[in-house]
Symmetry: C2
Subunit: 305 residues, 2 copies
């Protein structure tokens, strides 16, 4: 009944200071997602006790190595650990070719099927949906095709107030109450008002993952009012020009995006190897958006309970 986001890595391209490349482990209701999969992600999963075989859906933002180079090793370990269930991978054009060629040369015939979903980089679209959640793309402006991902819980049903439920109530009536309907007798008279037998629905939450991108206000409508925004903040104010040239964002700019989108909370990551100590990045983001935290490895952020 919550969204949980565990940070497995939040380093940018050169991994230093024992920081690892981008990867996040999400659980939403019964689903287990992996978002990006930099080199060493399978080791980070072991380190933090994340079960390899629970993951059925992997989302790759783009084909810079620090966001996907752990994928073939991860898939190999799933294979060696006896996986038989289909694995869904969502990523840009080219990713399945990269995976396929490597298993061709290693002469590996996987025990399970990979279903690849090619992402269109320029238009936001729903790429995954079940009863509880949708996952949509967020087109980002980077040096190569790149998308973020928006994870949204669907509106929940009202909850039955067990203490108030009369005896003999029918299953269909329970279903109607959850939908917010009143109950009627055979004559069409109200027997129970919905509000007397139910509790409000639990809040549904949303999480947006935005990495890598130049400062780009066009994403604001797509991430408006999310509960939690992860936004890259590769550089500080000292390298604002370099951020622009390399299609990255500064921490202060990430704060501005969070403010414009009216999000509840911001976490920043994709830290450049220039910054051993990250305090200055956090402070700069906070000048524009106070409720900011660093997306440090090992931290878990939870929405709902």
């Amino acid at each position: 009944m919550a969204i949980s986001i565990k940070i497995l890595g939040s380093s940018s391209a050169t991994p230093v200071f024992n920081r690892h490349h981008s990867a996040q482990y999400l659980t939403i209701e019964k689903e287990h997602f992996l978002v990006d999969c930099g080199e060493g992600t399978q080791m980070q999963m072991k380190h933090y006790g994340v079960k390899l075989l629970k993951i059925n859906h992997i989302f790759i933002s783009h084909l810079h190595g620090d966001h996907y180079l752990g994928l073939v090793g991860l898939i190999s370990s799933m294979h060696l650990n006896g996986r038989t269930e289909k694995l869904h991978i969502y990523g840009p054009y080219g990713l399945i070719e990269i995976i396929t060629i490597q298993f061709k040369y290693s002469d590996t015939c996987l025990n399970f099927q990979i279903q690849f979903h090619e992402i269109k980089p320029n238009i936001p679209e729903i790429i995954f949906e079940n009863n509880d959640v949708t996952v949509s793309t967020i087109p980002l402006q980077h040096r190569i095709p790149c998308t973020g991902f928006l994870f949204k819980e669907k509106p929940k049903h009202k909850r039955i107030n067990k203490e108030m439920i009369p005896e003999g109530i029918l299953l269909q009536e329970i279903a109607d109450l959850k939908k917010g309907l009143d109950l009627y007798d055979a004559n069409g008279e109200i027997t129970y008002k919905n509000e007397d037998l139910t509790l409000p629905a639990r809040t549904h939450h949303s999480y947006a993952y935005c990495s890598d991108t130049i400062y780009d206000e066009t994403i604001v409508p797509l991430i408006q009012n999310v509960d939690l925004l992860y936004h890259e903040a590769t550089f500080g104010n000292d390298f604002e020009e370099r951020a622009r040239k390399t299609f990255h964002t500064t921490a202060a700019q990430a704060g501005t995006i969070a403010k414009l989108a009216n999000v509840q909370k911001l976490i920043i990551g994709h830290f450049s190897s220039r910054y051993k100590i990250l305090d200055s990045l956090l402070e700069e983001a906070k000048t524009n958006f106070d409720n900011t935290e660093l997306a440090l490895e090992g931290l878990t952020f939870t929405l709902g309970n």
Copy 2:
């Protein structure tokens, strides 16, 4: 004036117990070599203080992921760290295609040239040579084309005994002495006997790296009398049949190969995830060859001084 071998990883396919995939860092005279490059090798290099940019030659034994998946990340970090010097990569057919396709999709134009040397898997041949060292292939029997590598220092010159050298000696005469020649005057008479002005040459050493392979005595002549042999020992006696089926070796069999080849010392690695504690593998190897050690991460083995 020595061969130094630092173990960066010696896990087989599933990395567990904080063990990393195969990678070794060798220094021989002025050369810095990397042998295999499993996922996470660049992080292991950072961890153990190995300088990324010193490496000019990388040898990849075969295209199972646990032996090469760190390569693209490593090359990327070399690029980001400003490398301009040519990088030589020696590996099987297919490796350069795997590298090239990934840099194509990441739209990376490297600042330096990669010179790829395709290894013929079935015949031993010299693939690198300079004044001090040769590197030859050792054809191995595995599920896919696979070669080990033999690193041999060339015989050294005799050393000049500075205390005994007379004044006014010519550079050419020094060179002759190093080659073991006596010195003559203009009339063809011996002026100095070589043994009076020189010290014996330092010993030259050899190191053989054999991973992955089924138990295979045909490699014995190729690694005869080496000072140090690394041989895979994926399994113990309890999985001898599985070793055979998967084209791997048991620790006891690795000991037998070391004995047959009359090597000075054996180190074993490529440990299966079945073994958390490795003592039994070491003991089993020692039943056939006593001078055996585990090739544990972080250990450095030195030949000469």
